[in-house]
């Protein structure tokens, strides 16, 4: 199945869910002729129509590719895409990990850990200068954001131990 069909199906499901959520917005005494749900409902319908058009054009393309016998290279690129997506969402998971640990570990430790984790993940190896670089980087970020810009970054649980 080609990307357009998958994308069209995904956006169609989203459009239906969005339309139903928009339709459930309660009526208001202050509402104008259009109402708070008017345009969101229109967006949902428009997206559904566009999604079906995308599925249609994807099916035409797929039929053409099928006729040309382009299945084998597609399967190979599909495996590579999956591997790329796995690595990409691994990066996102590191960001999510930062969000989770920041309130507990505090800003400096969390940023240092994020730098170590991202650099290690990108390089796929542990480099000799990684930890000192991460510590120096975290202190640099602390100076810029906490000392210079005066942002109240979380201190974590450390003040309880001191």
């Amino acid at each position: 199945m080609n990307r357009d069909i998958v994308c069209g199906c995904g956006t169609f499901v989203f459009a239906v869910a969005y339309y139903l959520t928009a339709a459930a917005i309660p009526e208001s005494m202050l509402a104008d002729a259009v109402g708070p749900q008017g345009l969101p409902e229109a967006y949902g319908i428009t997206l559904a129509i566009l999604s079906l058009l995308l599925v249609g054009s994807g099916l035409m393309k797929w039929r053409k590719e099928h006729a040309d016998g382009a299945d084998a290279p597609q399967a190979k690129s599909g495996r590579r895409d999956w591997e790329d997506a796995r690595r990409a969402f691994g990066m996102l998971a590191l960001g999510a990990g930062y969000v989770v640990i920041l309130p507990w570990a505090g800003y400096v430790v969390s940023i240092a850990l994020l730098i170590v984790a991202v650099a290690w993940y990108q390089e796929r190896a542990f480099m000799r200068w990684l930890v000192p670089t991460a510590i120096a980087g975290a202190l640099g970020f602390w100076v810029i954001f906490v000392e210079v810009l005066e942002i109240a970054e979380p201190a974590g649980l450390w003040p309880h131990f001191i």
Binding site: P36, Q37, L47, V99, L114
Partner: protein, 503 residues
């Protein structure tokens, strides 16, 4: 502008430091392969929150200009374009480097950037000012029509497919509908979350889509080559070189003007188009591809001219034609400035400051261009993994700094995931960003116009500005549809022909 105003702007406001800093940051960001001008600008957005409005927009606009030049540095030195627009510079820039003329190539790129920037700025000032005269005639119906025009133009011109462009635009409008309803005050799509009551700020969408999704993509990309610092001393082009490259620069400037004013085109199209035109009109066509100075001058003049002329539709109509101007539009919104006709009436001082800052950025490009060459090469030579780790740290720290909210960091990461999916499915970012940015304007003015006309939908056709803009929007959509159908038919005929030949 009198001498006293000019003196005050130079010495009593932070416009000059903002322009210099913007150019410096832009050059460094543009020089890093994979970090496009829009990403370089998006990384700065959180820092503009507490800044003076004029300084913030000058900083971002100067970054755009600096990044377009910065992209040529790795293009010439390591055959890896720092920006998409610099891909055309790779062809002759790297060939010149292999001939031991890296310094000359970098010099041609820098001074072509200065010429492109100067020409672009003159055109920007000349072409945007007259629009301020029609600003006062705009009504709510006209603003609605302007929003629709922006969405239809970008939806039909950005990306490879009309359907995908429009899907992205509608998704953007859906995101803009999150939060409190502009007329009744009812909550929509907030799912009980107090953080969503004020909607999703465009800055979160911009940083997520451009910066985080790029970081995600970089996880599976190989490291880039290293640059040789010894060969990278900028050289001022000789008189003979100037004599040879000026026609190519003129072509680049004109192409940059046309492409900058055309929404959806941008620096990349301008660079390749001007390269082809320069080769077509050159007396030494055979040297193109083998280290022709004209092959650097034309695309570099064009893409830096675009960094100024792309501001014409953005400032005058509020329509960002490129990803970078979309980020710049986000910077305007952070400062509560809405680009469009009224900007020239309500905030004429900021427009004047922007022109001044852009002028300073051109001078700054020469100075910073020389000074920042060694740091740029140092940065390019660092391991890619360290750079990506520091950029990620900058993104999460910068976004948290906006409202000291971890929820917003989470939103940015979510938009990073969405951006990655959009890249995979080849859905363009620009229409979505425009939908997010224009969504509120479109809805509030649509409903306000209907309230003022007692629910009469004909009000959009009775207002001549609205009718004209909606007509142009319709023509754009119809034209794109016809082009799409024509391409499908042509494709079908070619396929039929090849099948017949096979048979």
């Amino acid at each position: 502008m009198d001498f006293q105003t000019l003196w005050d702007m130079t010495f009593t406001t932070p416009l000059v430091p903002a322009a210099i800093l913007g150019v410096a940051w832009g050059i460094v960001g543009g020089a890093l392969p994979g970090i496009s001008p829009s990403i370089t600008m998006a990384l700065l957005l959180p820092f503009t929150y507490g800044m003076h409005s004029s300084s913030a927009v000058v900083l971002l606009a100067s970054t755009y200009f600096g990044a377009e030049y910065g992209g040529s540095i790795p293009a010439i030195l390591i055959r890896t374009p720092g920006t998409n627009a610099a891909a055309a510079t790779v062809i002759d820039g790297y060939a010149m480097k292999q001939q031991g003329k890296a310094g000359e190539a970098l010099g041609i790129s820098l001074y072509s950037g200065v010429i492109g920037g100067t020409f672009g700025l003159i055109m920007l000032v000349l072409l945007t000012e007259p629009l301020s005269r029609i600003a006062l005639a705009f009504k709510p119906s006209s603003y609605f029509a302007l929003g629709m025009l922006g969405l239809s133009v970008i939806g039909s011109l950005a990306g490879e497919s009309l359907i995908k462009g429009l899907i992205a635009a509608v998704l953007g409008l859906m995101i803009a509908a999150i939060g409190t309803d502009p007329v009744t005050g009812l909550n929509r799509f907030t799912f009980g979350s107090p953080e969503l009551l004020s909607g999703i700020a465009p800055i979160l969408v911009l940083v997520g889509l451009y910066a985080v999704s790029e970081l995600m993509t970089s996880a599976s990309e190989p490291p880039w080559e290293k640059a040789d610092a010894g060969t990278a001393r900028l050289k001022f082009p000789s008189p003979a070189t100037w004599k040879r490259i000026w026609p190519a620069q003129a072509i680049g400037a004109v192409v940059g003007l046309i492409e900058g004013c055309t929404p959806g085109a941008g620096g990349t199209v301008a660079a390749f188009l001007s390269y082809n035109e320069a080769r077509r009109w050159s007396r030494r066509k055979e040297e193109f591809g083998h280290g022709s100075p004209e092959g650097i001058a034309a695309p570099e003049t064009a893409n830096t001219a675009v960094s100024k002329t792309a501001l014409i539709p953005m400032l005058s109509l509020g329509i960002p034609g490129t990803n970078s101007t979309a980020v710049l539009l986000g910077g305007f919104l952070i400062q509560n400035l809405i680009p469009g006709p009224m900007l020239f009436v309500q905030h004429a001082d900021i427009v004047r400051d922007l022109y001044f800052g852009l002028g300073v950025s051109i001078v700054a490009l020469i100075l910073v261009g020389y000074l920042f060459m060694p740091p740029c090469i140092w940065m390019v030579n660092r391991p890619k993994s360290y750079l990506m780790a520091f950029i990620f740290a900058l993104v999460v720290s910068g976004v948290y700094a906006i409202e000291t909210s971890l929820f917003q960091v989470g939103i940015v990461l979510a938009f990073g995931g969405l951006g990655y999916a959009m890249r995979y499915f080849r859905l363009p970012f620009l229409p979505m960003v425009l939908g997010v940015v224009l969504g509120f304007l479109v809805e509030s003015n649509f409903r306000r116009a209907l309230v003022l006309s007692d629910g009469d939908y004909m009000t959009f056709l009775r207002d001549p500005i609205s009718a004209g803009l909606l007509g142009v929007a319709f023509l754009f959509l119809a034209g794109s549809l016809l082009r799409h159908v024509g391409e499908l038919r042509r494709h079908g005929r070619t396929r039929q022909k090849s099948e017949q030949e096979k048979a």
